[in-house]
C-alpha cells in the first residue's frame, strides 16, 4: 500500500506522458524537452538556493558530470543484436541516467563539503570556480573528447524520459519540503545560528541538499546529452548555471511551483523568439536586474502557486461576508 502511494505520481504520469509523446509533433517535442530539462534544473537548484538559502552558481558543472557519465555508458553498451531495442536501449539509458546522477551526486559531495562552510557571496564564487574547474578538467581529458566533446551519443531521450525526470525532481522536492528534513533546510535559510542551536546539523544538511541537487542536475545533463546527441564542455559553462539561477530567482526562491513556472515561461518564450538568439542573454540579464530592483522575492516568493489561490479565495470570502 505504502509502496503504491510512493510511486503513485509515476504510475499516473506514465500514460499521460505516453499520450503526449504520441501526440507531439517534432517541433513541439523539441520545446517540450528543453522545457522539461530546464524544469529539472530549476527545481533541483531551488533545493539549494531556495530551500536552504545557499547560493550556488555551479549547477552546470554537475550537469556536465551527469551528461558525460551517461553518454560514456550508453556508448560503451552500444546496441544489442539479441535483445529488442526497446528493452535494451531503455534499460541501458536507465542505468546510464542513474550512474550520471550518482557521479554528479559524488561530485556534489566533493565540492559541497569544503565550500558549504562559506556563506553567501563567497559560496557563489567558489561554486562558480568549481564549475569552471570541472569544465577545464573535462577539456583536458582526451578520453572525454577534449574541447570538442563526445558526438554520436545515441538518441535515447524521449518525452517520456524527460517527463519522468520532471516528475522525479518535483516529487523529490515536494516530499523533501514537507518532511522534517525540508524544515531543517528552511530553518538554515531563516537563521543558521538558531537552526544549529535547535539540533539541526547545519553543515550536514547543506551538504545533503547540495548532493541531492547535484544529482538532479546530472539527470538533466544526461537527458539533454541524449537529446542533442552531443556532449561538449561548451554547453556547461557558468553561463548555463546563471540561466538556471535566473529561473529560480524569477520563480521565487523556495517555491517549487514558482521554479517550474519560471522554467516553462522562460524556455518557451525564448524558444518562440528563436532567431533572435543574440537577445537571449540580454533579456535574461535585464530580467534579473529589473526583478531584483522591483520584486527581489521573485514572482511567488517562498510560497506555492496554490497558496495564492487559497489566500485569494479567503479574501474573496471575507469580502462577501
Amino acid at each position: 500500500m505504502r509502496a503504491w502511494k510512493s510511486l503513485l505520481p509515476f504510475v499516473l504520469g506514465l500514460p499521460v506522458l505516453w499520450l503526449i509523446q504520441l501526440w507531439a509533433p517534432p517541433q513541439i517535442a523539441i520545446i517540450l524537452v528543453n522545457i522539461g530539462v530546464n524544469v529539472i534544473l530549476a527545481v533541483s537548484l531551488n533545493m539549494v538556493n531556495g530551500f536552504t538559502g545557499q547560493f550556488s552558481l555551479g549547477h552546470a558543472g554537475f550537469m556536465a558530470v551527469g551528461a558525460y557519465t551517461a553518454a560514456k555508458i550508453t556508448l560503451a553498451f552500444g546496441e544489442s543484436a539479441s535483445v529488442s531495442p526497446l528493452v535494451w536501449n531503455n534499460g541501458v539509458f536507465f542505468i546510464a541516467l542513474l550512474a550520471g546522477m550518482g557521479m554528479a551526486a559524488f561530485m556534489g559531495l566533493l565540492v559541497g563539503i569544503p565550500s558549504l562552510r562559506l556563506r553567501g557571496d563567497y559560496l557563489a564564487i567558489v561554486t562558480l570556480g568549481f564549475n569552471e574547474i570541472i569544465r577545464v578538467l573535462i577539456e583536458n581529458m582526451s578520453w572525454l573528447g577534449g574541447a570538442t566533446g563526445i558526438s554520436g551519443v545515441p538518441p535515447y531521450t524521449s518525452l517520456i524520459w524527460v517527463g519522468l525526470g520532471v516528475l522525479a525532481a518535483i516529487v523529490t522536492a515536494r516530499r523533501l519540503l514537507l518532511s522534517t528534513h525540508g524544515r531543517a533546510l528552511l530553518a538554515i535559510r531563516e537563521d543558521e545560528v538558531a537552526a544549529e542551536a535547535m539540533g539541526v546539523d547545519t553543515t550536514g544538511y547543506k551538504v545533503r541538499a547540495f548532493v541531492l541537487s547535484a544529482a538532479f542536475a546530472g539527470l538533466g545533463g544526461g537527458l539533454l546529452g541524449h537529446y542533442i546527441l552531443l556532449v561538449t564542455p561548451k554547453s556547461f559553462t557558468y553561463v548555463k548555471s546563471i540561466e538556471v539561477v535566473v529561473m529560480v530567482v524569477l520563480g521565487g526562491m523556495g517555491s517549487i511551483s514558482g521554479a517550474v513556472f519560471a522554467a516553462v515561461l522562460l524556455t518557451s518564450s525564448l524558444e518562440l523568439l528563436r532567431g533572435v538568439d543574440q537577445y537571449r542573454m540580454v533579456i535574461y540579464s535585464l530580467l534579473l536586474v529589473v526583478l531584483m530592483l522591483s520584486r527581489p522575492t521573485g514572482l511567488f516568493g517562498h510560497r506555492e502557486v496554490w497558496d495564492f489561490a487559497k489566500s485569494w479565495r479567503r479574501k474573496r470570502a471575507e469580502a462577501l461576508s
Partner: protein, 258 residues
C-alpha cells in the same frame, strides 16, 4: 557529584587577550532553577555560548551529565540535552509558528532522508509524532491558536514564548534562557516568571536563567550566580547574594547610582 546534570569547571573564554569569562564554575542539579545575573557586559551570554557550543572554551571543561561536551558543535550539544534561547530573538521568521517548533523536534530522531522521499511508514509515524508533540508544546505555551501564523507576525511577547517552546521541543535536560523577559512590561514579566517555574516542574528540566535585573529572578531562583567582568563574584541563595557587599558594589550599587 554524579547527580549533577550540567557542570562547568573553570571555563575560560578569551578573545584576543581579553578574558570575557574567567574560570567560570557551575554545577546544576536536575530540576534546579538557577539565575545567572550580572550587569550588562558581565559575560553572561558568553557563558551561555561557551556552554552551548557556540564557542569552544579557551580552557576548562563543560560536562553534560557525565559527558564532556566542550568542543562539540551546538547541534551536538543540543542533542545531548542542552537547549537555549537567544537574547535577541532568533526565530525562523518566515516559517509558521508550528514549523518553528517542529524544526526543533527534529533533534529527536528524524529518520533517514530516503524514507521521507519514499514516504515510508516510519516517516509517516515520525512526522505524526512530531506534529503531536509540537501542538502539545504550543498549547502549554498558550500559542495553540497561532500555529498557522508566520513567526514574524506574532506580537513580541509571544515571540519570546515561541522561542521557549522551540527550545523545549528539543527535549532538553537543561534549558538555558537568555533574558527571556527583555523588552516585556511588568505584568508580562511576572507571568513569564511563573511560566518558567511551571515549565521546570512540568518538564523536569534544570533551568539556567540569564537576567540582568536581579529583582526579577530573586523570586523564582533557588540559587544565583553573579558575574562581573567575566568573574564570578558571588553565588548562593538569593537572600545571601543580595546582602553580599561585592554584589552590592559591583551590581546593585551601579544600578542605584544610575
Amino acid at each position: 557529584m554524579n547527580d549533577e546534570i550540567l557542570r562547568a569547571e573553570s571555563v575560560t573564554m578569551e578573545f584576543g587577550g581579553l578574558k570575557a569569562l574567567d574560570a567560570f564554575n557551575l554545577a546544576l542539579k536536575p530540576g534546579e532553577l538557577v539565575g545567572l545575573i550580572g550587569p550588562n557586559g558581565a559575560g553572561k551570554t558568553t557563558a551561555f555560548n561557551a556552554l552551548s557550543g557556540v564557542y569552544a572554551p579557551t580552557s576548562g571543561r563543560v560536562l553534560l551529565g557525565a559527558e564532556l561536551v566542550n568542543g562539540l558543535k551546538p547541534h551536538q550539544v543540543c542533542r545531548k540535552g542542552l537547549a537555549r534561547t537567544f537574547q535577541n530573538i532568533r526565530l525562523f521568521k518566515a516559517l509558521t509558528v508550528l514549523d518553528n517548533v517542529r524544526v526543533a523536534c527534529h533533534a529527536h530522531g528524524h529518520g533517514p532522508l530516503w524514507q521521507s522521499l519514499a514516504l515510508t511508514a516510519g516517516h509517516a509515524g515520525r512526522e505524526q509524532a512530531m506534529e503531536e508533540r509540537a501542538l502539545e508544546l504550543l498549547e502549554f505555551m498558550g500559542l495553540e491558536s497561532r500555529g498557522d501564523e508566520l513567526a514574524k507576525n506574532l506580537p513580541y511577547g509571544l515571540q519570546r514564548r515561541l522561542e521557549i517552546a522551540r527550545a523545549l521541543a528539543t527535549g532538553p535536560k537543561v534549558l538555558c534562557l537568555d533574558e527571556p523577559a527583555a523588552g516585556m512590561n511588568a505584568t508580562e514579566t511576572t507571568k513569564l516568571m511563573t511560566l518558567i517555574h511551571d515549565i521546570r516542574d512540568k518538564f523536569k528540566v534544570a533551568v539556567l536563567l540569564i537576567e540582568h535585573d536581579m529583582k526579577l529572578v530573586m523570586g523564582i531562583s533557588e540559587r544565583l550566580i553573579v558575574l562581573d567582568h567575566g568573574v564570578t563574584i558571588a553565588s548562593g541563595p538569593p537572600e545571601k547574594v543580595r546582602r553580599d557587599p561585592k554584589v552590592i558594589e559591583a551590581y546593585l550599587g551601579v544600578q542605584e547610582a544610575a
